[in-house]
Subunit: 237 residues, 6 copies
């Protein structure tokens, strides 16, 4: 049924290469099949203005696609002079998702920026970004702890994300580009270890969906995120 | 429990004044309590470049807050030279939601822009915008049909939206600003007559939530949208 | 003669609804016939950099048209990424006009921003903006005085504005859109109680005009502004 | 009384050097005392989109100050990424003033851009720009006529501009920077040969003014513009 | 002498991984030591406006650094809303250098964009970009020839680039970041197979240099580029 | 051979008019034939953020073309909202070149901005800018020394720039527009009194060049700059 021949609840191969760049405090190149995203965590001592002097930190995300990450070349946002609505939406989602598992007080007056740059796109770039960003964050905070800069671990759990959708009437897990571009509904789930939900974004594309459909997608997402949680732990060991 | 004294499943008073402006093909001023949004539908014969010559139409949304719609004055996006990520996210949601109930082929090569300008904000501006935009759209298309410009009604159903959230541990319907700013989770539901879902955006703020929480919010949203569907029908009669 | 059937020195009906929005320190929805402008006054404690520490305040204006205030939809300036020359010209005029009746030293180190957002346009939006802005300002300053924040009233008089023009050879008062778009000359007068002039902007459009023409327009403007001064006082009582 | 020792109705020395640059179809460097503006007229065959195919031309103006035209260096608008409100206001005024003396139908489908770049500023840069722009325009159109590109002269008269103001209670002609920065009222008049008025912009600065004041300024402006009309004719001979 | 312990004419290890991304018509990840740049060639059928209908093609370059390619995080140009002068300078150099070895007429009416995105920076990113861009271009054109889209090979030679500099008084080849940031002079050479020069950019930083110094740097560059030419050929075999 | 009839090593007439504007601390209008650039030096007490409190100064350059400096009118960068890559490249070159002859410590905590505005262009605008900027800088610093603001002269030498190129196979000095637009190679040399080189930028346009060609261009540049050094000294005497 699926163009890739995968079973409905079958994910693409996950591959994680930590320490992909040497300057960042934490980094990984994460792949879900042909989707590849470079995630880096940068630790800086200055927090946004509204947090200064409060002893709290901040975690934020940025996202971009390289111009030829996609089938046809897209113009650079830097050349166009502004970031698209899609980019900004994804950036906000990455930051919010990661903050859901960080105790900002324990982080101290530091900002960690999670840069997610898509090297190659084949569907699911925002969920791969969130998943990889957690790894980069974990590595960066491990470094802060090892250096004695932070005493208590500010990370309260793992966060992972996966897309699911209704493709030709069937709920399927981890959409690739072929599926994503013709799915009836497309949902991104951001889940946390322990069964909690950080974010659900479920959008009807060709057809609307019902409560039962939403629940079946959520169950697929749980299957996917459980596998991702394991892969994340393996990667940061 | 609620700052306003409302019951958990009690909505604010809905008020709809159609024909609020004379130039737009369809318009209304919609209020949910103190939240007031002016929604106008503008019909134009030119569609976006990628649709030209295909005989299909397009429906899109734009959103803005007047600078003093809020407690403290916000700088104009026109003066800052760009629209915020939040504005763009909401605009995309409005367009997507309305397109879920329009058969673009029956619309013919026309673009309808739904402008949602927040006159006064007290929580739920994006859901009021979607709800009011449907009314403006319905009125504009009624005009096109009456003028003989369109033969078959392109509108396939009603769409309405409402926010729900978990406030001090209790799921509540139709958050106002006081609740919104301190809710643990905040969800926007876009529902369609007949029980279908167009969009779910559920975000953990202070605390994450679980599947049961998501379902309880969805049930509240159904209660709210059923009331809104009735109010929409009354308004366009 | 006039498309509306009005006499040359006959104004459109003026309607003023004060307190139109609840967050602003002062506000009104002002109408001159079908032209409707929402004017709000926002008081903030921070003045522009060049005034800091001088114990003086500042009054400034901002202006915008909602996209469908006009016959055909105009693109949002926020979406285009910049304010038009026309918008900036009008904003500067609003600020200058209001400052003509405010003793900035008595205002203390406060900035009052007068936002004029055109809900519906039918000619004379800038003059309606100035006229309504004075009301919003008066209400805001009444509030500051009532709260004991200001001791002496910084407002030194009333300011009002009206457009006049030479339409088909005849000087007429308070141009509506039909007249404005085909007038030979178009003039905006900003007058102050007591017979003083704050600003004259008189522009030849189709034909130039002479000194006698200018004076006849000024006399019409005096008639108009006297009526407006009365309406302003009624509104703020 | 005047810082320069001039009589109230005494203008600064006018100096006009035509053909200052070789590429422009018409050009001059015009000086009013220490105010020096380079005005060029550029003829192009493409008109703005809304005029295409109508057989009519267009005349437009652009204005800029070199960064160190003024006492203290001003940042470049190109570096700041946008033109100020003041610049746009002046550009619009230049275009409007010149169009008042051009029959756009006789111009044919051509656009003439009048670039006014202030080399040195000492008050009255906008009025010097309009005055010099007429000379550049006249020279450019002389060239078109000489080349046989235009049959009938599209220029219907001369246009000149001058600033006047009330300085220490006395109406004075042709304000320099010292006067301009402390005048009670500041007015710019754009006059046309034959006694007609193209534009009046009279602004109260420190104090408001009355009808008598406006008329006295207008009379000074007539004196000034009559001298300028003669200087323009001498220059283009 | 050199921080890295290299001999003055010793280059860093060059590593080239072709086909690094699957969508681009040609691509490679090129490394000079720790400097890593992803170069992709994108073939499109539309040429810039000034070339349309002339039967000629165009080759252009774009350049960007990922935010954490460097020791400390740099803000995204897309977020800042404009590309820096440095970025634009490098982009222009990349395009010019590659066009030096392409017969644009043989390319036909096609544009090839060479995107050079710096994954990790350690000095010499612009020269690595040019060097890698040639490989991506070669692979893309091989594809066009193989597909029969182009008959004659439009590539007339190889182009490579390398930086040299005077470091603590000694001319050295292939500066890394430590050397680059404290060199007295810094030169980038773009050379072509056969001994020709496409571009020299030699800049005094701490101290100026003389003709002899320039020639010694050029000789080092020849040594370096000869090695690069070999590596390029190996990579595209 | 040369369109102008000049010998290969013959420069155009150099003309320098110092004190061209009265507000700048130093200024000149410099001409190389028909190329005319207004150079001004503005002294300000605030240095860029990264230098504050270090007791050092900064010298920077800005560059712009008036819209009709060229054969056909170019759009204003201020109207387009950004500076072109070419403009930024030239600005950076001007600043770098002048800093090569200034001891920033002796300058004290001051910034000097060298504005180079091209009044008329006929090739070689960037080299004329650098050459004229030195004169403006020298005059400004003379003023600082005369006023006792600076004790030791921070200028360590003269800097001048000239373009050379290979035109129809022959190396020629000081390209004018006709030559520049059809030269095979185009080089800009920035030289310093005493035989040192500050910058070489040599670009192949139609054809590449070899080492011998580069050296012949450098020798021409030495001839040219020696003449310029003399002209500079005459001008500032």
């Amino acid at each position: 049924m699926r163009p890739s021949g995968r079973a409905p609840d079958e994910m693409r191969a996950i591959n994680i290469e930590t320490g992909f760049t040497k300057h960042a405090e934490g980094s990984c190149l994460i792949s879900f099949g042909d989707t590849r995203v470079l995630c880096t965590a940068s630790v800086e001592r200055n927090v946004p203005p509204w947090l200064r002097g409060k002893g709290e930190g901040w975690v934020t995300g940025e996202y971009s696609m390289l111009p030829r990450a996609t089938h046809t070349r897209g113009a650079r946002e830097a050349a166009k002079g502004k970031q698209s609505g899609r980019t900004q939406e994804i950036q906000r989602l990455i930051g919010r998702s990661l903050r859901a598992v960080v105790d900002l007080r324990k982080l101290g007056e530091r900002q960690i920026t999670l840069d997610c740059d898509v090297i190659q796109a084949d569907g699911g770039t925002r969920t791969a970004s969130i998943t990889g960003a957690w790894i980069a964050l974990r590595l960066a905070i491990n470094g802060l702890i090892a250096a004695g800069d932070i005493k208590e671990d500010p990370i309260t759990g793992q966060v992972a994300a996966i897309s699911c959708g209704i493709f030709k009437g069937t709920p399927v897990l981890d959409l690739d580009y072929d599926e994503d571009s013709s799915a009836d509904a497309d949902a991104n789930f951001v889940l946390i270890t322990g069964g909690q939900i950080a974010e659900v974004q479920a959008t009807a594309e060709g057809a609307t969906y019902d409560e039962e459909g939403l629940l079946r997608l959520l169950r697929l997402a749980r299957i996917g995120c459980d596998r991702i949680f394991t892969a994340q732990l393996d990667a940061v060991k």
